[in-house]
Amino acid sequence: MAMSKSVRYLTPLIVFGALVALLVWGLGQDPREVPSPLIGKPVPEFSLPALEDPNRTVTEADLKGKISLVNVWASWCNSCRAEHQALMSLSEVPDFQIVGLNWKDEAADAMRVLRLTGNPYDLNGYDPDNTVGIHWGVYGAPETFVVDQDGIIRYKHIGPIDREVWEKKLQPLVAELRARG
């Protein structure tokens, strides 16, 4: 009885200990570079209707032969709005294609955003139910994957792309992949 009572009062300390263990572990991680288990692996097979034209399908074959930035976005996502301008200027660079994964979204809302603010995407897969996103390990929008010419995932960036991210991370990688041919 006395034993169980003192254990009861120890509970908060034990819970706190578990929390600290989690935070210590978390300190070693950089949340912007959550390692994706998919890096170095071929993109998971998928087939989605294109956002702009439901009769066309987007598959992993569309990600071969060219360097691709696969950008996960949604019309409800505020950071994607912030990122949109950067994508618009990147869409003028000829070295790669930008493929959108329109994620957990309504097609009408997504199309309205593209009509109003411009369309930086060469292609857009429409994934309202997270059926493809889940295989790609998407855990929020925006996220951007860099896929090389052979369809291998090389990098994953979490959060919006801005000038700094582009210049420091993505651009060098794209240049390296291009040089390798």
């Binding site: 908060p12 600290v20 300190l27 912030a82 603010t117 801005d162």
Partner: protein, 666 residues
Amino acid sequence: MIPELGHFALILALLLAVVQAAFPLAGSLSGNRPWMTMARPLAYGQLTMIAVAFLALTQAFLTSDFSVLYVAQHSNTLLPTIYKISAVWGGHEGSLLLWVLMMAAWGAAVAAFSGNLPLTVVSRVISVQGMIAIGFLLFMLLTSNPFERLFPVPAEGRDLNPLLQDPGLAIHPPMLYMGYVGFSVAFAFAVAALIGGRLDAAWARWSRPWTTVAWVFLTIGIMLGSWWAYYELGWGGWWFWDPVENASLMPWLVGTALIHSLAVTEKRAAFKSWTVLLAICAFSLSLLGTFLVRSGVLTSVHAFATDPSRGLFILLFLCVVVGGSLALYAWRAPEVSDGGRFSLLSRESALLGNNLIFVAFTVLVLFGTLAPLIYEAFNWGKISVGFPWFNKMFLALSPFLAVLIGLGPAMRWKHDEPLRLVKTLWWALALAVAVLAISALPMFNTKTLWVPVGLALAAWLLFAHIAIVRERLRNKGGLKRMGPAILADLRGSGRSFYGMVTAHVGVAMFVVGVTVLSNYQLEEDVRMSPGDSYEMAGYRFEFLGAQQAPGPNYMAQRGEFNVYRGDRQVTKLYPEKRSYMGGGMPMTEAAIDPGLFRDIYVSLGEPVGSTGDWALRLYYKPFVRWIWLGAILMALGGGLAVSDPRYRLAGAKARKPAADTAAATA
């Protein structure tokens, strides 16, 4: 020279904190009175030293002394004076300095306004505060010195983050920190009580006003943050479940549970060990919030420049403070008696329900905030805990809480009769049901069941509290003349009662605001050419085009709108898109026509094409002000409750010290 003076003052403050942590506590344990009497002067000395450091940093900002690294990073010569002052706490190092300044101010306030407390209690409380101050001062001096020099001295500084160049955000952090740090007083009282092994009603009475004041500041701080996010971020939302927002919400939730639990401990000497645990948790969560914001463990729009070594320091500090106090709790709390018994139908039960719901809210927020970490740590895959998850969880629990808030104050302590409750509350319940039925009528075109439910709960809260006030006045024989009776009551012993009523009516207002806003707000993304009009929610928005408009340290694109309702012009709106000279992302300044029943809100998106077209966002936000007015009422209620003569602090000491000490130990 002056920055070095500030630096030196901080070092002295650290030395004083060491003395403050050691001697008064040792004195209280060994009965050494001179050591105990050192507590008060040490608290004042601490405040003086940190105030000197704070003024030194402020002076560096006002004179644009860019030889100080922190100033060069967060200010420039073009920055308007008011933002030069608020820039003092615009970054990591300065906001820590503000934090320790407030901590010292709370300590000095405890020293000044605790004349009627036993010296042993005061010296222990001030000692515990000294220990916390040691941690923060060490943290500043070792990892985050705001007075670090920069050489060569740049001709111009960078800029204050443009998001922070805003009056709302100039006062939001001080309010928030007053709340966070204020809980350190409740924490210190709890730890002092655990050290002394005396947890009684007197302890609850002493820490209650401090806790409520801290809670009032935190309420205002969070409200200001929500209001700022609404008008500054240009997304029209008022709460984003961002990790940093959550970090401020968790101490508030536990703090709310704590002020209710303290009421039970004061009145009925029950829930004692539970109340102590809440007091420890409220401040621990404030510290955890600090850790999350400054360590880089989670990403957020608010995150300060992060640095893992800082994160490690705060985590160590967190371990010492929280781990230490919880260990003390595990050691001492089993000796505490559980206090008075109560039946199922009693105010104790209602408040226990309140506590459980608030703790459940806290656990949900904590889990949701840390979920990405937890899932990754256990390799359960990635999840996105966002808006919908938090909303769903809170919506599921909130109705129970609302029912309890109306029921609890109507109940008697210890035991109540169902029949008596029905007699008091039947008409409030009837009116709430009527609101439910009427608002569910098809003519109101409610999209979900949540609208009638939300409105009915708000009606229940309001009418139940009117019934509770009537009941109180009936007992005092003043039913006929309610107004004068309330005034007389307010002059007497009724302030904490009416404070409670005010805060609970604030909850009703908040519920109305959230219900109406989330179900009836309209949002349109449109592309408009100069001269175009767009119709929404009965308002016609006429876009006259956008012009260049220079500001003191930015260049703006300024849109011009006429808003009409029918033929009558309601307002002119000028939303802006600003590019600050300091660089960085362009900032959206939304234009808002506020109203008690609706806001009209326009924000500029991007220019489209070359003919002066713009992508724009138009919002119609019904009852959005009620959310913040509700929070203001809650804070006012807290303020009214603290002004109750029962808690009179300094004044009582001068007039009748003997009587108060007698009452406190009774």
